[in-house]
């Protein structure tokens, strides 16, 4: 059994089928990719996998436990973390504060109003460790709004990591990034691979082919192809395309 498994997922909105008979396996310690054209159902798939929408049919298991239909909060507490396509950051707060707020210990301390949490040295050290994982330790005390777009994306990943996840789902992390920022993000995700199991939902095929151990291609709400990048690249039509040239 895979670390995270989805079986026969079916999702309808009204009279439209958005996901049909989706099977996905994500292995521990790997980077799994989901790619597909616009409107293929990637984001709905992401929202079902992370518990925002319950599927109409099908099951999902994480480390052998059935998580189908659990609330997003319960799913998050089990160690499944996600990013958002639209960045959710507190712009006026310092970079490190965005991480501190997302730490599970912060949630536990919040009820204790007497303690000024932002001066808590343990929380600070922990947040700093996460910032160093995403390469933002030097700007820890800058206001978030001063970050570049690429740094904001790194911070957003840091926020997802603050929950101490066992598996992290990243929704189109390259969206809006230029070539240089995409390259830096790729380096960052390669480093995170040592510590986390990662699922990347991506539109940028080149980015995904360079990073992922396994890729599932979604179109028409279904998995139309899957395999390692080299397996997918062996297809003669793929060889003829721009994807065939990626080493």
């Amino acid at each position: 059994m895979a670390f995270f498994e989805a079986r026969n997922i079916h999702k309808r909105f009204g009279s439209s089928v958005v996901l049909e008979k989706i099977d996905l396996d994500f292995e521990q310690g790997q980077i799994s990719g989901i790619m597909g054209p616009n409107g293929a159902g990637k984001t709905t798939c992401f929202n079902v996998l992370t518990g925002r929408y319950a599927p109409n049919r099908g099951t999902m298991t994480f480390e052998g436990r059935d998580i189908t239909g659990l609330s997003p909060q319960r799913i998050a507490r089990m160690g499944i973390s996600r990013s958002f396509q639209i960045m959710n950051l507190f712009d006026d707060s310092a970079v490190i504060e965005n991480i501190m707020i997302a730490l599970p210990e912060f949630r536990d301390m919040r009820s204790n109003m007497i303690r000024p949490v932002f001066r808590d040295k343990m929380l600070e050290a922990e947040a700093m460790e996460i910032l160093s994982q995403v390469g933002l330790q030097d700007v820890a005390w800058e206001p978030s709004k001063s970050l570049s777009y690429g740094q904001r994306r790194a911070l957003e990943i840091g926020v997802a990591l603050a929950a101490k996840p066992r598996i992290v789902f990243l929704d189109e992390p390259t969206q809006g990034l230029g070539a240089e920022a995409t390259r830096q993000l790729s380096t960052l995700i390669k480093q995170l691979r040592e510590r986390y199991t990662i699922v990347l939902i991506e539109h940028d095929m080149r980015f995904l082919f360079e990073l992922a151990d396994k890729i599932s291609v979604i179109h028409w709400g279904q998995v139309i192809a899957e395999g390692t990048p080299s397996e997918l690249q062996s297809n003669s039509w793929v060889q003829r395309s721009a994807l065939g040239e990626i080493a």
């Binding site: 409107g39 997918l232 793929v238």
Partner: protein, 206 residues
């Protein structure tokens, strides 16, 4: 029998009183088992109307469509896509209307579509998706489904796709539907040669 299109007629008319026919489509063919069927024809020839009639999102003037022996127009509207499903480019299309309420209609008896109709998928030789799409059509066929692939060829590789993957063909022109058992048979027809024009000449010189 996978699909039977029996004496199917669809006539669009204008004018509430005089009812002058503006367009009329007729089709009569059957497909016994799983397969991949290529469909082509000029814009406005009735290809999409034929797909809508097969999926039951459009009602015929006369005739019937049987999918796996079930009359699609007598199946509950919320289950018709469990028999035949229409994908327009990247989106699934469904606008079902029936005068009878669903409780008076039949169950589809299937939880995954038997017939998949792909209406002009966006093929682009640069992104590699063609290869994944063609593999998906093959997988559906291997699982016992019937696949229709509608293409309006305007580039050489569109013909390559049809030739590579389709076992039989349907040509639609001004509401007339003809079936052909092979690509070579298809491109011998005068009307098909006229329709494809210079794409065929290019192919023959390659």
């Amino acid at each position: 029998m996978m699909l039977e299109v029996k004496n199917l007629e669809k006539t669009y008319t204008k004018g509430a009183l005089s009812r002058t026919p503006t367009f009329s489509l007729s089709a009569d063919f059957k497909i016994e088992g799983p397969g991949i069927v290529g469909m082509m024809g000029p814009n406005g020839s009735g290809k999409t109307t034929l797909f809508e009639l097969i999926t039951g999102s459009n009602n015929p003037t006369s005739g019937r469509v049987l999918v796996q022996g079930k009359d699609i127009h007598k199946v509950r509207t919320d289950q018709r896509d469990r028999l035949a499903i229409h994908y327009h480019q990247s989106y699934q299309v469904r606008h079902f209307r029936s005068l009878k309420p669903n409780v008076m209609l039949d169950d589809a008896g299937s939880d995954y579509p038997m017939v998949h109709l792909f209406d002009e998928p966006q093929f682009n030789t640069q992104d590699g998706y063609i290869g994944f799409m063609l593999d998906f059509f093959r997988k559906l066929r291997a699982e016992g489904r019937l696949v229709f692939l509608c293409v309006h060829p305007n580039e050489q590789f569109h013909l390559e796709i049809l030739k590579e993957i389709c076992e039989r063909f349907i040509f639609v022109q001004t509401g007339t539907v003809t079936t052909h058992d092979s690509y070579d048979g298809l491109i011998q027809k005068e009307e098909v040669r006229t329709y494809l024009g210079k794409l065929l000449l290019e192919e023959e010189t390659v």
